[in-house]
Amino acid sequence: MSTEDSTVELTEIIDQLNSLGESDLNRLKCFADRKMFGMEGVLNGKNSEDLLQEAFSRVISGSRKWYPSKVNFIGFLFGVIRSIASEWRKKLVEIETVGGDNIRNINGEFNKYEKDIERRFDVDRKIKAIKELFKEDKDALISQIIDGRLEGLTRSEIMECLEISIKEYETAMKKLYRRCQAKFSIGGCNAKEI
């Protein structure tokens, strides 16, 4: 085993991967499914399994190093998946910006690409379809959470604004997910139905 600040040997990484239990493996898959929700056809046909495979490859090859003193192994894996998903999103942006018209504005953001992807990706319609699901709810909590997330607020900011506990937030997210899942097969990554 390593010292406190060092990483671990490949054999230990393999042992850790091989000792992941059924619930951890399902959790990883669900996480990857949701990270890739609605992205099919946009990232060169990549899906949630590609995301998981890429994460495992990077961990095993050592291109992503695990520091056991900083994070447990499963937490480390979630971090790797998260960073690859974000990398792919950035690449998506770069691919779309090849061409002379797409010049960064004063804030360093791309202007034209966003419009192109948003149109092709039909972002606005997808989001409105999800919001529509909760429009008639007597309890406005889920709609408020969706609005908060869409505005870029973090979980703790939303909790603070709405004065709700983690448990209430997570219960609402569960309902949100289940309703979306029933309507749009979110877990199956079939966002085309939206």
């Binding site: 991967l17 959790r27 495992f56 090859s61 966003e114 997330r149 949100l176």
Partner: protein
């Protein structure tokens, strides 16, 4: 006017959905998988297969890397051991000299190593390199002998 949603709004939304998985209990995860009509055991198996594939690919990559390193090392050592380009005649002279200098007590065993040696006139440049290499391995030729040539 109604707000128009952008890509970053979408990413924020799916990130929130994904992050809520981290807070879910095992039971919730299992329930969700089942509600999707999937089997948690089969899902786990799928992910295990992805892990196995990744491990196999990494081992393959390391093998290829090791082979490349070995080949490069071999190439380098041959180049180092035979640093001076000299002609076939010089090489043959070097071989004869090395074989002549083998002590009588060792001669039989050394010659066994070269039992497939062609007639000296039939040795070509490539044969000569191989023999010199072998003589070096046997300690019958030293770097200085080659350099002196």
């Amino acid at each position: 006017m109604q707000k128009k949603y952008k890509l970053k709004n979408w990413f924020g939304f799916i990130d929130a959905l994904a992050d809520s998985i981290l807070e879910s209990s095992d039971e919730d995860i299992y329930n969700e998988v089942k509600e999707l009509g999937e089997n948690p055991k089969e899902n786990a198996e799928k992910v295990r297969n992805l892990i196995s594939q990744a491990i196999m690919l990494e081992k393959k990559r390391k093998l290829i890397e090791a082979r490349k390193m070995y080949e490069a090392k071999e190439k380098n050592s041959t180049i180092k051991q035979l640093p001076i380009p000299f002609n076939l005649k010089d090489k043959i002279e070097l071989i004869i000299k090395a074989l002549t200098n083998v002590p009588q007590s060792n001669k039989a065993s050394v010659m066994m190593q070269f039992r497939e040696l062609k007639k000296i006139d039939d040795i070509d440049d490539n044969d000569a390199d191989i023999i010199i290499h072998k003589l070096i391995q046997l300690g019958l030729l030293k770097d200085e002998d080659i350099k002196n040539e």
